[in-house]
């Protein structure tokens, strides 16, 4: 990949670390594999995600001049500086490394378990089918940070998926609508017959 990492992330060379992080986050959210589960373009998105990850890594490496907490290390050697930052977790999630993400999440000291912690924990739980716990954590995230669209989205997504339970069974259930449409069709056909003057 010969692309300039800064242009991949859409930032200028002298962007601050915070800006780089922000740009990375936005792209990670945009190209997250979950959004493309049944999409035929999923492989293209995967490529894009890889590109974004590599660009971010490269920039981190370039800028790392020692003393940088949680630099470019990907695994549990993530040193906890007390600043709440879950970049590592989000990155692991976008790479599908859910169990590693969960290890980091679970080792977060209880003092740092705020809205984002709850959201990420909830997302990981939902991913492995622990829906009761997931629901609770995502709701806690929404409660702690009511303005956050990402958390609201997650909660709405759960509600939407839950609402589609038994989908086709429940809509097929009432045969009334079918009768009505059949009757309506016959009425129209009947009218047509008369119009043609053929008389059936």
């Amino acid at each position: 990949m010969s692309k300039d990492p800064y242009s991949v992330l859409g930032v200028s060379r002298d962007a601050s670390d915070a800006e780089i992080k922000k740009a990375y986050r936005e792209l990670a959210r945009k190209y997250h594999p979950d959004n493309y589960v049944d999409n035929p373009l999923a492989d293209l998105v995967e490529e894009k995600m890889k590109e974004v990850n590599e660009a971010y890594d490269l920039i981190q490496k370039e800028r790392a001049s020692g003393g940088k907490t949680g630099g470019s290390s990907r695994y549990s050697s993530y040193t906890y500086s007390g600043i709440t930052s879950f970049e590592e977790v989000r990155r692991l999630i976008s790479e599908g490394k859910y169990s590693e993400a969960e290890i980091i999440i679970d080792s977060t000291p209880s003092g740092d378990r705020g809205a984002e912690w709850n959201y990420l924990k909830g997302a990981l739980l939902a991913n492995r089918g622990y829906y009761y716990d997931a629901q609770k954590h995502i709701e806690t995230a929404c409660y702690l940070d009511p303005q956050n669209a990402e958390y609201q989205d997650a909660r709405n997504k759960l509600r939407y998926q839950s609402g589609s339970y038994g989908g086709s069974y429940r809509t097929q259930g009432s045969s009334n609508s079918d009768c009505c449409s059949i009757c309506a069709t016959f009425l129209v056909l009947d009218a047509c017959c008369d119009c043609c003057g053929a008389g059936c």
């Binding site: 089918g129 622990y130 009761y132 716990d133 629901q135 609770k136 759960l158 339970y165 038994g166 259930g173």
Partner: protein, 307 residues
């Protein structure tokens, strides 16, 4: 067992309802001969559901007949004739009843303990009688069920705050006995059905007991997950919080997707009324039971008055 897993009758066709009743009656008879007359008192809707699933899994057709029933002597009732599917359910029911009695003996006190004490000899008899027809894999069921129940007990005592972890243990128990003695494909499908339905039963039961457990400072899985936000105190009375109830509904429907989808795999060319009964139970019956349980424990909305 608990009676949470049952159909939503208003949406059953008449012939489906008749088959369901016949399964229930057939189960009663099977329990009578397999595990003793008194075991019939532990007859439950949950096992009628299991018998429907087992018939779909084996592909055998339930055959109906009419006979006079002791409990309903006025008119002959249609029942499903003796079959291995019903006998199997009878034996498993005895096993679980014995487990419950033993649990109650250990955990409860007062009148409940007395009841358990009195029920114990009968429960043991039921299991001993059932043993005569058990296959080897069934015999190992008892041990694995007991091991899982102990594990569940341990988790509850330690105040586990993950509802899913707890529900999963109970679900696994149900998965075990739903799937035993079946060919591989059907066994795997029934295991998933059992797991999902087991989780449903565990959580619904927790919701049903929540208010009492709160008042008596006892462990409750839902209370453990949500903490005090699960209850609303209104004057002297404690209610299940509406917000938490709605959350539980969302999670539960999500949780039922997998077992429901698994059950669909059994329905290709399956007996139409049996399929309809199982579908009704999954998509209408269980959500309805949940709704009823929630209504029972949440505060009634005040009527709006017009002035």
């Amino acid at each position: 067992m608990f009676g949470y897993v049952k159909p939503y009758i208003p949406e059953l066709k008449v012939r489906e309802h008749e088959l369901y009743r016949a399964l229930y009656c057939g189960l009663c008879r099977a329990m009578g001969s397999e595990t003793g007359t008194l075991s019939r008192f532990t007859l439950s809707y949950d096992f009628a559901f299991l018998s429907a699933v087992r018939f779909l899994a084996t592909g055998n057709v339930p055959v109906a007949d009419k006979k006079t029933c002791m409990a309903h002597p006025l008119k002959k009732r249609t029942y499903i004739k003796d079959s291995e599917e019903l006998r199997y359910c009878a034996r498993v029911s005895a096993l679980l009843t014995e487990g419950k009695v033993r649990d109650d003996l250990a955990d409860e006190s007062g009148i409940k303990k007395l009841r358990a004490l009195l029920a114990r000899p009968e429960a043991s008899y039921m299991v001993r009688k059932a043993k005569k027809n058990c296959s080897d894999s069934e015999n190992s069921l008892k041990d694995s069920i007991n091991a899982s129940l102990s594990r569940l007990s341990e988790l509850e005592v330690s105040g586990c705050d993950s509802l899913d972890t707890l529900a999963e243990v109970f679900g696994d128990i149900c998965g075990e006995f739903c799937s035993a003695c079946l060919p591989e494909r059907e066994s795997r499908i029934c295991r998933e059905i059992g797991r999902g339905v087991g989780r449903f039963i565990y959580v619904t039961d927790a919701l049903d007991d929540l208010r009492d457990d709160f008042k008596k400072h006892r462990f409750n899985p839902v209370l453990s997950l949500y903490g005090d936000s699960a209850v609303e105190v209104c004057g002297n009375e404690v209610y299940l919080s509406r917000a938490v109830a709605e959350s539980m509904k969302t999670s539960m429907l999500l949780d039922l997707k997998r077992p429901a989808a698994s059950a669909e795999l059994l329905m290709d060319g399956g007996h139409p009324e049996l399929c309809a009964i199982v579908r009704n139970i999954f998509y209408l019956g269980m959500p309805n039971t949940l709704q009823e349980t929630i209504e029972k424990h949440t505060k009634k909305e005040l009527q709006n008055t017009n002035h």
